[in-house]
């Protein structure tokens, strides 16, 4: 029981804050709750398939395969594969973290994982369409190019500083 409370400490504290808000600032509480409920709906649809896919990846894809596709010596090919994996429409960035973690443990190159996460976060086809519609094609094209460059540079910088020891251990 205690260990459960400890594990869920953060959400429990948040629930208390919501309770406090409901008493002192009911209109804010209402807005917050509406957003939260909306998010839970989105998560309930996206999270289960992503976690199942991650489980399948861990069981079926051998380390050598990941290393050969997006590992240390894959150069431009590895960058392109990582980029395209990231642009597949698959929901918010936080669902990509566990996937990225498994890929890193399986021997993916750090800079490729940063490209994967960057593409996942900032460069998606449906997203680019909405961006073009509301901010125009030249804005969208320029942000696309600059973001891509930034992600490649960030990957290179991080690669020099991150080693396998910095990654959390698989339980």
């Amino acid at each position: 029981m205690m260990s459960m409370i400890k594990k869920f400490k953060a959400p429990l504290i948040l629930a208390l804050i919501y309770l406090g808000l409901a008493i002192w600032l009911p209109s804010t509480a209402q807005r917050s709750a509406a957003v939260a409920v909306n998010y839970i709906g989105e998560m309930a649809l996206i999270i289960p398939p992503v976690f199942i896919l991650m489980g399948l990846l861990q069981v079926w894809i051998p380390k050598e395969k990941i290393t050969a596709l997006i590992g240390k010596d894959t150069g431009l090919k590895g960058m392109l594969i990582s980029f395209f994996m990231g642009t597949i429409p698959t929901g918010p960035l936080y669902v990509a973290f566990p996937l990225a973690g498994s890929l890193l443990q399986k021997g993916a190159r750090t800079s490729n994982i940063v490209i994967f996460l960057g593409a996942w976060a900032a460069i998606k086809v449906p997203q680019l369409i909405a961006e073009t519609q509301f901010l125009g094609p030249s804005y969208t094209a320029l942000r696309f190019v600059l973001t891509l460059l930034a992600v490649i540079v960030i990957g290179r910088i991080m690669e020099k500083r991150i080693t396998i020891k910095d990654l959390p251990k698989i339980e």
């Binding site: 869920f8 399948l56 429409p89 973290f97 942000r143 910088i157 959390p168």
Partner: protein, 159 residues
């Protein structure tokens, strides 16, 4: 909608293949998924709660007034802070950014807002740390924040 359909279609194909090849390994995969999900559950719930709280206190109208013309020189700074701490779906943030631009906000402000929103995640950092480690998370978010400022400046100069 496209997202949901793509991901489920992909899952069905992978799952069918997996069951066809080995039931045992499929069960093993499910066990791994369940364990990972249980591990992440507190973080996921906390993200939901925090996002709700932040957007409850900072509804789109408030964000608009903080990033709009009347905010003046403080607008890009507000954009960087709000973009880094909130989690607004891209399909909502683009119309918001578009209307801000039309009503006179600068390219720098809205680009800082969009780029930090997409690439920097304070609320999701605990989950990122759990999956990728503290060092990775700090570096990725820190460098992305700096990149957002540079990208916005370059875009402000060019456009």
């Amino acid at each position: 909608m496209v997202t949901i359909i793509t991901i489920y279609a992909f899952l069905v194909v992978c799952l069918a293949l997996s069951i066809w090849k080995s039931r045992e390994k499929t069960t093993q995969a499910f066990n791994l998924s369940a364990k990972a999900l249980w591990n992440m559950a507190p973080n996921l719930l906390a993200i939901v709660g925090l996002v709700g709280l932040i957007l409850g206190v900072l509804p789109p109208e408030t964000i608009s007034s903080l990033l709009g013309v009347e905010a003046g020189a403080a607008a890009p700074i507000a954009a960087a802070i709000i973009g880094s701490i909130t989690l607004i779906p891209a399909l909502v943030s683009f119309p918001l950014a578009g209307s801000l631009l039309d009503s006179g906000a600068t390219v720098i402000t809205i680009t800082v807002f969009i780029t930090t929103l997409l690439m920097v995640g304070t609320v999701t950092a605990p989950m990122e740390i759990k999956a990728l480690g503290k060092k990775f998370t700090l570096l990725r978010n820190g460098l992305s924040f700096i990149a957002a400022l540079i990208i916005a400046t370059v875009m402000g100069v060019i456009l």
